[in-house]
Symmetry: C3
Subunit: 203 residues, 3 copies
Amino acid sequence: MFHLIDLIGTMAFAISGVLTAFHKRLDPFGVFIIAFVTAVGGGTLRDMLIGRTPVGWMRDVNYVYVIGLGYIIALLFRRKLDRLRTSLFLFDTIGLGVFTLIGLEKGIEVHLHPVICIALGTMTACFGGVIRDILCNEIPVIFRREIYATICIFGGVVFFALKYFQINNDLLYLITSLVIITIRLLAVKYKWYLPTLGKEVIS
Amino acid sequence: MFHLIDLIGTMAFAISGVLTAFHKRLDPFGVFIIAFVTAVGGGTLRDMLIGRTPVGWMRDVNYVYVIGLGYIIALLFRRKLDRLRTSLFLFDTIGLGVFTLIGLEKGIEVHLHPVICIALGTMTACFGGVIRDILCNEIPVIFRREIYATICIFGGVVFFALKYFQINNDLLYLITSLVIITIRLLAVKYKWYLPTLGKEVIS
Amino acid sequence: MFHLIDLIGTMAFAISGVLTAFHKRLDPFGVFIIAFVTAVGGGTLRDMLIGRTPVGWMRDVNYVYVIGLGYIIALLFRRKLDRLRTSLFLFDTIGLGVFTLIGLEKGIEVHLHPVICIALGTMTACFGGVIRDILCNEIPVIFRREIYATICIFGGVVFFALKYFQINNDLLYLITSLVIITIRLLAVKYKWYLPTLGKEVIS
């Protein structure tokens, strides 16, 4: 079931990638690459950094298919997706929780320090968007005001705090992802943003 | 002979890198890095993704020499290269075919799925240009209208279709690279481009 | 002691990262990532290219702590750092020398060609700044006029020249880093820059 959620999250990320890329005057290939990178870029960077090669999507071609499916759906039903915005956002948020967990787990698998594992979880969940923004020639949005990454870091801290008390693994996963998902929903609802540093320069 | 074509293709890519970088107000070091990245960036990314490290150009210093040679030639004979534009374009196109083949082969060597091998072939041939454009602070040209990548993907499909019929290896390589080279030449001659998505937004 | 200088250099790079990022209208997370990438980006790229994974900072969490410390110091004492500009610049310059040496050593460890080792040394010392500039959506400053990278290359050549004469290792390290540090200081004092190519286009 975990793998299924992973694939659904991947597709949600790919769809959001297409929607982001659509107004950048790219061609179909460019939009596909942006969708691809948004979906698996974070995990790919993680795998390269810890030496888990060939990287994830190369070992399981289902990721490519799921991204291709998301790409086609997003291009065909682009206008209708507006009405599905809420479901999409929900999948995207679930993806955030699941991807963070996957990153944390990979770090633990290779016996890395908890601080590094939290970095890997955050990277898995958020750095696809960073690479997407770089390819689109923009300063990554999560470096400016999006609270995304901070939530993943917090989720990682909760994860290790719970793990310290030797909580059952299923419960550990469930609570951590629920914490991330809930805070993300609250953050969007109540418009929580990180402050911008160095503002005084402008005025 | 394959290795020789590889080195010639690398030099052609390096020269085209210098010519692209020349008007970006870079210093000699910057132009060299752009040439280097244009020439071996795609293969380097491929090697990192599949875990073939140290990456290619680190194991065979001839790549560095060939790029250095291309760099010097391009800087010295920059104006005269205009007259050699056709030969340069030809080498560049041969490079496209050969690099795609090399990427396909590396993927097969580590037993990856054909879809992934095609991705690796395309990456080897085209992503040096992507990294070059990112370093030059531009949205990669192959994401906008260049048909480059699509031709490599098509070449990869032809490759596996032929392989399925257990064609002799030499013939397989020859036909695949000829297909890529021919379509590329036709694409330039008849100005085939991919359409830009999301255009309606502008008007 | 070498490790200590490495950590001090890392912190100096992190502080300079914060100061660079501060006026880009980033949030605290974004500034931290820029500091992080400035400090360890070069070594991380080197490790990925030679397959030394998990990469350096993942194996020794002290790097993360030192960067965190530099980040906090830089944010708290930003205005006062102006008065410490000279010390900071000195640490930064020492970092340049030490990082180059570390890169050279890693290359030798995996038996790479001297030319490749010099590339690795330069990358270790200078490419954190390249990644920082890409994330900030700018053409890397060392590609435009900064003489940074050229000094590291020269230092690498001196290193192998001395090594050829089988000089004692401690002396080899000391001379190489002193050469890099001295030239860097002279370059700043006398405003040595690399010329920009392709200038005639503008006028």
